[in-house]
Amino acid sequence: MKTGFSIRGVEFQNRVFVASGTFGYGDEVKDLVDLNKLGGIVTKSLSWKPRDGNPPRRIVETASGMLNSIGLANIGVDTFLEKKLPFLRTLKTRIIANIAASSIQEYGNVLSLLEDHEGIHGYEINVSCPNVKEGGLSFGTDCAMTAKITADLRPRTTKPLIIKLTPNVTHIAEFARAVKGEGADAVSVINTVIGMAVDVKSRKPKLSTVTGGLSGPAIKPIALAKVFEVAQMVDIPIFGIGGITRLEDAVEFLMVGATAVQVGTANFVDPATGTTIAEALESYGRRQNMSDIGELVGSLIVDKKASVLQSWM
């Protein structure tokens, strides 16, 4: 049975990846997880210079979820190339470098620098970053800006270019359509949902940054709806992300239209979640007598009349 798939000629051995920022750079968990069993590893977001990240408190647990305001603390692209990439190169698993930046130039510089090195198989662009020029407004909530970043990056590489979309917009499909138009090979759906929590005793926000990103099982229904919206409107490969903790979750995402999935927050509970799901997905496919796990992608059976009703709330 075929478990893998390919994007822009790059072969991935299966459809279960680990999500950026929830798996470090891979090496931290090499004793706990058989990294070679993953479909792909998406690195923590890399910026041009190292970033200290936000002051504590950075994480807050919420009902079936968590808020984070890590602030993209990362070692920076140079240290990544020097300290982390050599190890990642020893794996047979595909490595996707996730890039974060505060200007279009920075995105381009980081990607071009990574291009000069062996062992990176594709790029995922985190556009949920503040655009310093625009006083910190997030690139990712501005469709034109998101398209512009894509257009600037596309000519810099022939490898898969994946744009990671934020769910914090009215019509996420417009963003997917726009980046596809600029040559993006795929989109990742979704990044975290904006949320906050208050410490009633001190009357202060629990996070040092007031608001943060909500993730985990709590957001799975939201993520599924966003993936479905994109899949219905735009013909582009989708990495489905949001609250995936077990096989059934992954299958749901594939059925609504995700080409592959990424496991995030669940890695904090068990870093082997991704490999466990990858194996479970393979045996599930065999039990269902599939010749290709890809048969699941977009296999959702939808009653035509449904869409008319849906928007009454």
Binding site: G21, G24, D31, D52, P56, I59, A73, T265, F268
Partner: protein, 257 residues
């Protein structure tokens, strides 16, 4: 470091609101060093979602003990565990206390549940031939946990036992009266107490290590969720889970949140 399902053998109340949970894990029992912690998955459900970190309090044979109070959903579930229940544990984690320096006298200072790591710390200090003095601060006599400790000096907030007041002042005064040649301080407890210990250790020029607590998502360095400010150095933050939880007093800056 392993991740494994372990069997709970016992949960007992050892002081007002304080419980000791014992589970079986030869690997963790063998490899845990003083100050290290385990990250416990209290149930299979998704709420509470994250693991809960607990210092290894004591090891005996294949048995590992953790000490806790019920402060929320996770510890509430732990308190209801019964012998035979299975739970998933990740550990041992973190940087242990440094017990192998050439100091002679170990001064242990614990506030509240900061006493948790002191039993295993005492085990190891004694086997490496150190003299151990232990200073315990508790709300009252009822809240004290003194088992498996050495030369215990007690301070209680309500004066119901020992010194009436702050455990750091008790240790401070004691050390003034009994100047300890080549001593090293090992502290664990509330942030406010740890700040006092640091100030006092640095002032007195005594080497000191403090063990921190703080919210954690992963416990293994992959979420960047547990920063503590460093004193100098080019990196602004250290991670409590992988650079700690034990830190040298002068290496970090504690802030009340």
């Amino acid at each position: 470091m392993i991740i494994a399902d372990v069997v709970v053998t016992d949960v007992k109340i050892v002081a007002e609101g304080t419980r000791v949970l014992t589970f079986v894990s030869p690997d963790i029992a063998k490899s845990t060093l003083p100050g290290q912690f385990v990250n416990v998955r209290v149930h299979a459900g998704s709420d509470p979602l994250l693991r809960r970190p607990f210092s290894v309090s004591r090891v005996e044979g294949d048995h590992v003990e953790i000490l806790f109070n019920v402060v929320g959903a996770g510890t509430d579930i732990l308190a209801r565990k019964r012998p035979g229940d299975v739970m998933n544990v990740l550990g041992p984690l973190g940087v242990p206390y440094g017990i192998h320096g050439d100091f002679k006298n170990a001064v242990l200072i614990a506030g509240g549940l900061g006493v948790a790591p002191m039993a295993i710390l005492t085990q190891h200090l004694k086997s490496s031939g150190k003299h151990v003095d232990t200073f315990l601060g508790a709300r009252s006599a009822l809240h004290l946990v003194v088992d498996h400790l050495e030369n215990v000096h007690v301070a209680t907030d309500d004066g119901s036992k020992g010194f009436h007041g702050n455990v750091v002042r008790l240790a401070d005064e004691y050390l003034k009266e009994h100047p300890a040649r080549s001593a090293k301080i090992f502290a664990c407890g509330p942030t406010r107490m740890l700040k006092a210990v640091s100030a006092f250790a640095i002032l007195a020029g005594i080497e000191g290590e403090i063990s921190l607590e703080g919210e954690m998502a992963c416990g293994i360095g992959i979420c960047q969720g547990c920063p503590v400010e460093r004193a100098g150095g080019q990196k602004k933050y250290a991670l409590v889970c992988t650079d700690g939880p034990a830190f040298h007093c002068q290496d970090i800056i504690l802030r009340e949140s």
